[in-house]
Amino acid sequence: MSDDTRDIEALIDLMARLPGLGPRSARRAVLHLIKKRGPLMVPLVDALRNVAENARPCLNCGNIGTSDLCAICADETRANGEICVVEEVSDLWAMERAGIFKGRYHVLGGTLSALDAIGPEDLHIPKLLDRVATENVREVILALNATIDGQTTAHYIADQLSGDIAVTSLAQGVPIGGELDYLDDGTITAAMRARKSF
């Protein structure tokens, strides 16, 4: 590596560590950034610096924002008595993209896992119980993944929640655009059990 390309190679190495990118695609991305230095690279550097300096988890729900309280927790109109519990911030963002849920969220930061020795104390479950007690919550929606670990966590949380709070979970079944022939038998079983009158 010559001195004049060392910085570029270092950038390629860093980019190649990003999800979805390998050395070859990182090289293409870096080349593209260099070609579009003004319109793309400089704003990207500024944006990266801003996020690096300001991004932090919301103290209330665990969402990522740029202040102590994320925009959702700071919005009083979303205090409607419903909390949607998700595993990761990416799940919260997916729910927000759908635009169907108007309440607040709680990000657990993972699921109970015997393999990875993740117990209840490693997740944000105590904070969830605090919020349920203090935020006039009527319903907790367990939007956890339909996996063994996800549902184990859901059952654990449901056991911890007591009183008059409704505990619900997302339905499981055929995805929109899904074809039965391509579905695994577990999904078909869940869909059949959750059938409704038409």
């Binding site: 015997a114 063994i148 038998d185 577990g186």
Partner: protein
């Protein structure tokens, strides 16, 4: 190296962006790991859930390598069992205990057959909790810590067997216990005769097997704590009692 076998998936962890490392209890090759290319994909992730029965094909250049596994689903159990906390916690406990107790690459045909039979019963047969207890007894036996509940360790009698020695795992009769009765574990009908499905009796039996898992098996494995999944299963059973 290449073989084909059937097995029960015990655990799965992501490997890189798209692959997964699976831990499978196979019929002929014991507990075996392998890398599944694309195991984290939308197509394979629903199949790779603990408890799933798989047809597995394993390939490696050398036997000591972790190798590449390709899998085909034979039977999915997740959807059936994860709706109910009891059945889900039992499934988790079975998978976690197998991964905890069994050495890798050592054929365990009897344990495999008993595990398949138990997993097929969970949720489908009312006597599944009793079958779970018998399965733990078998697991202890397969790992070298079998219980001998056929005759009294002190008198040799086959009657009035109401205790288990916490040290030897052998039955002790009421007469044989003498002054040591309060130091012995209770031997209830679920463990002794294996024909009661009363949750309280089963729970008492699981406390006895738990003692031997904790004080005999775990120390032999480097004093690792028993999996949380088993503790959660017992809590769920306790709640039912």
């Amino acid at each position: 190296m290449r073989w084909e076998d059937q097995g029960v998936l015990l655990s799965v962890r992501r490997h890189g962006e798209g692959s997964a490392i699976i831990d499978v209890l196979t019929a002929e090759h014991g507990r075996h790991a392998g890398v599944v290319r694309g195991g984290a994909s939308r197509k394979l992730a629903p199949i790779l859930q603990p408890g799933a029965q798989l047809a597995m094909s394993w390939t490696a250049r050398l036997e000591s390598h972790i190798g590449t596994a390709s899998v085909e689903p034979l039977k999915s159990r997740a959807a059936d069992l994860m709706q109910d906390r009891m059945t889900l916690s039992a499934l988790n406990s079975v998978c976690a205990l197998l991964a905890f107790a069994l050495p890798e690459r050592e054929p365990q045909e009897e344990v495999y057959a008993a595990t398949i039979s138990l997993l097929d019963m969970i949720g489908a047969n009312p006597a599944w909790a009793l079958a779970y207890l018998k399965w733990e007894v078998l697991l202890l036996e397969a790992t070298g810590f079998g219980l001998d509940l056929t005759r009294c360790a002190v008198t040799g009698s086959t009657d009035d067997l109401i205790y288990v020695s916490p040290k030897t795992g052998r039955a002790v009769s009421g007469a044989g216990a003498g002054d040591w009765a309060d130091r012995l574990l209770p031997l209830g009908p679920a463990l002794r005769d294996g024909n009661t499905a009363d949750p309280g009796e089963i729970l008492a039996g699981l406390r006895v097997t738990g003692h031997f898992l904790e004080t005999h098996l775990a120390p032999s494995l480097g004093n690792r704590p028993l999996p949380d999944a088993r503790i959660r299963f017992l809590s769920a059973l306790e709640r039912r009692v």
